[in-house]
Symmetry: C2
Subunit: 443 residues, 2 copies
């Protein structure tokens, strides 16, 4: 199975766990059988591999998510990097060109395209596989998956099939309706549109060339910023006459708000939390290493991370976005391809962060104009290069990097350093990158 | 006015703001006219000085609070240090001996004794001053202040006076009653017992010598641990025949729980907080430097500090103690006589703290057996002494202290350092103190 996972933007609706640099799909909140926690992306990837160990997975996403994907899924997964956000039609067009031109996927091969963030079980991916197999033999140009509605939701688009067969021609698409309308549609056999499509790769490429003037992947990539924002539904699906829908009746949840996320949690809390016996329907996700104590609360979600603390009535939590839009503060935690960093102290003219480098990874070779830095190694082994001179680095070693001096650190094992930054104007933009150097070994 | 303020123990009922090392009276939650925040202790001390600029203030407290008192009130305030906690009668006996033997207060002089933590206005201290003046001319041995009840509370003891005069002989004392009983007492003119007494110093000393065998202050101090825990009310007040009570009708609040503390707050939040318009009767005290967002909550108090996060229904918050008793974690923030420290990162074999030294203060000269330490100066100027060698220290300087090597830092201005501790067994108990050294100056 060739599967393209569409990985959406920086969701603020799960603040403080999601933020500009960490989308909801990377938050580790789902308990696995071995008691560890995994993210939405990890869960979906694991489920796909368990259904089809030969699956070729490509993630269509923005540049800002590449680090987190490599960090959580490793290097084997394909990534179609969008230079900027342009909605699903340009994203799918780019991913299709990437598969064809960069990964050598033939135009006759079937691709299954689906969002990266449904909360589902293995049967969903078995259905996707079947959708792909049907697309390979179908006379329709496009096969959709329609989800059997469990209630008359006003949050989803509806697909009304011509028949109640398992696979049926599509009669008509309906935008997000009122709940009354939704009830009517459901009585006519309507299905939720979960944004899942299967078709031959060539079909997507033809539609892409019809609507966008481009020669190949690189050309499309280069002009990506000039493309119009438009969804695949509007641009392609709703104009296609030869289109069919396959019913799916298994578990499917859209985890977009704290309320729905809480429903998917296996226990009432993740992280250090104490709930007294007067709490009812309370969920806590605490990423800090100090406890959250809840007493006498009803229908409340509490979430604490290095970014902030949310305490919300569950229904109210859907209205979070405008409040979070007003919070302007620096990123306190971020996952990178090489590891992660966390801001642990901020003062007027200094900032202290903890940097974690995964084994075998390294920072860019870089310098800062406006600040001096000091590293103290607190875990692991590695090497530093400062001004072209390489040194071994182990626990207890201290490395000083005055402003202007290029430096990097290379992790031979998992490596942690406390980095103290000092200067009058500390900014993430104050960074000059250099080619990785030939070094003089000092010891 | 000679005034003794009784400063009680480590209140857990205002966790996470109060903890084993920080009692509620040191939390800065009261907004002053210039927009700064002050603690209960600072507020009371400021109020006393504004009523009587010559007031001699002595704080009776345990060793563990001495640093915080010096830090918040400066060095001028007298402190009667209790070697351990033994309730109010031993504490008052010790404070009386301290005043007599150490501060030269004559036996004929009047002292006013009161708790450090009532939430009151200036008129309360004007009443205390009057209480002292009356005690100086009264034939009674002991004068109490009785607070006009504002509701039939079951939380306070009651004093029933013989008459409704402003100053009256006491008829009888009543323990904390039921609300029905309280109503009856109030109808008879009963007053709340706020734990405020005025008498001649000699009176307390006589009672102390009657009940405890000791020669002088030092002797009492040395045997303090052997004393029986008993309150001044039980030991003295309730046996005294020549006793009067003075009425006080001004504002008086006992801020012992989150619920009552919230009532005393001038605004709905202190620190970074956002409350949406669906919040009703919500109070937030946030000591962290990331925001707390509250949505759709009713009658809730939220408090966040480096120690943890409380989210509680206001009424439920009175039942916090047993839950906090179960939280066993290291102190994350503490005020010391020389400044303060805050734990900013904890790993398996390292801990990182931010140390703030007030100008003119210094650490003990000390070493650790089980850990190496590194200081990076992030603010201010001072000097370090490491293994007897003194060096200047300024922003950007890095000081390494291997295990076993004695070290200290002296702040010439306010000084902040990031201290990285590294070792297999990091503990507050791993500390060896030395005499302050004669140094060799390196630069």
């Amino acid at each position: 199975m060739n599967i393209v996972l569409l990985s959406g933007g920086s969701g603020k609706r799960l603040w403080p766990l999601s933020n500009d640099s960490r989308s909801k799909q990377f938050i580790k909140i789902f308990k696995t059988e071995d008691g560890e926690y995994e993210s939405m992306v990890q869960r979906v990837y694991r489920q796909i591999c368990s259904v089809d160990s030969n699956a070729e997975v490509t993630i269509a996403t923005s540049k800002s998510q590449v680090s987190a994907i490599h960090n959580q899924l490793g290097a084997n997964v394909g990534i179609s990097v969008e230079p900027c956000r342009r909605d699903t039609f340009p994203a799918i067009a780019l991913a299709a060109s990437y598969l064809h031109d960069k990964r050598g996927v033939a135009a006759e091969e079937v691709v299954v395209i689906c969002p990266v963030d449904p909360y589902v079980e293995k049967d969903y991916f078995e259905a996707l596989q079947k959708l792909g197999e049907c697309a390979a033999v179908s006379e329709a140009n496009l096969l959709l998956m329609g989800i059997e509605p469990t209630y008359p939701s006003a949050k989803y688009g509806y697909i009304i099939p011509k028949s109640k067969e398992n696979i049926s021609r599509v009669d008509v698409f309906k935008e997000k309706p009122t709940e009354e309308k939704a009830q009517e549609y459901i009585e006519k056999g309507a299905l939720w549109n979960g944004g899942v499509f299967a078709c031959r790769l060539g079909y997507v490429l033809r539609r892409a060339h019809e609507l966008i003037e481009f020669t190949d992947y690189q050309d499309l990539f280069d002009k990506y910023e000039t493309l119009t924002k438009i969804s695949f539904d509007y641009a392609v699906v709703e104009h296609e006459q030869h289109i069919e829908v396959m019913r799916f009746a298994g578990m499917w949840k859209d985890i977009g708000t704290w309320n729905t996320l809480a429903e998917a949690m296996e226990s009432s809390s993740i992280g250090k939390a104490i709930l007294n016996d007067k709490c009812e329907n309370v969920h806590v996700i605490n990423e800090l290493n100090v406890p959250v104590l809840c007493m006498g609360l009803q229908d409340v979600v509490v979430s604490a991370s290095p970014e902030g603390i949310l305490v919300s009535d569950k229904i109210q939590s859907s209205y979070i976005k405008p409040y979070v839009d007003e919070i302007h503060q620096q990123i306190m935690f971020a996952e990178k391809s090489w590891g992660s960093f966390q801001v642990i102290d901020v003062e007027e003219e200094s900032m202290t962060i903890k940097v974690t480098l995964n084994a075998g990874h390294r920072m860019n070779y870089h310098s800062h104009e406006q600040r001096d830095e000091v590293w103290t190694v607190i875990e692991g082994r590695g090497r530093t290069i400062v001004d072209g001179v390489e040194c071994q680095a182990a626990v207890g070693d201290v490395i000083r990097m005055p402003a202007g001096v290029p430096h990097t650190i290379i992790a031979d094992t998992k490596l942690q350093v406390i980095e103290v930054q000092m200067g009058p104007d500390i900014s993430v933009h104050d960074k000059k990158k250099y080619e990785f150097p030939n070094t003089t070994q000092q010891k």
